[in-house]
Symmetry: C2
Subunit: 108 residues, 2 copies
């Protein structure tokens, strides 16, 4: 499933970058809102440490996930589609082969 | 400066426990308010990760600091006085020797 950079046309690269940035923006905005909401209801230390644990996990996940490498991009897109941060329609313009790989991976 | 449990009278133990719990309550309430305030102004991911770093440091500090051991209690009280979570007056009833140790340590 690995696709090297050479297999991406310039147009595909633009589409991919736009989709990637859009998904990132959506996920980060949602995360910020969620943290604000959870922080606003904090009444005890246990809840604060739960928020800390949550942030530790999300930071690790996000820093790993949004690493822009062409070789891993179809996996990243599949995960973003699966998690609802990206619609497969937003990848239109990629080759049929890439799109079907993303769709197949997203269903796993 | 270490003072074993045997050197605390029952009355001193009650005074110490009340002071300890009061300082803990104050510090935790202040921390919760601070986190709520900082979370409410979050607009980007960098700020969120700064909040995460802050929570990591505070968690480590608080979990270490509020360990109730008679042998370390005068150091703990001195730190709490120094940081403004406890007033030395709230320790009245402890022996003069203990009070002067707390006051001296708090000035260091």
């Amino acid at each position: 499933m690995h696709v090297s950079e050479a297999e991406w046309t310039d147009i595909e690269k633009k589409i991919a970058r736009t989709a990637f940035d859009q998904a990132y923006k959506r996920e980060i905005e949602a995360l910020l809102k969620q943290v604000q909401k959870e922080a606003s209801t904090l009444v005890e230390l246990d809840g604060l440490w739960q928020l800390h644990d949550f942030l530790s996990a999300r930071r690790h996940e996000i820093e790993g996930k949004y690493d822009y490498q062409y070789s891993a991009l179809l996996f990243v897109f599949a995960g973003l589609v699966k998690d609802g941060w990206l619609h497969v329609n937003e990848l239109e313009g990629l080759s049929k082969d890439k799109l079907s790989k993303v769709s197949a991976l997203a269903r796993m």
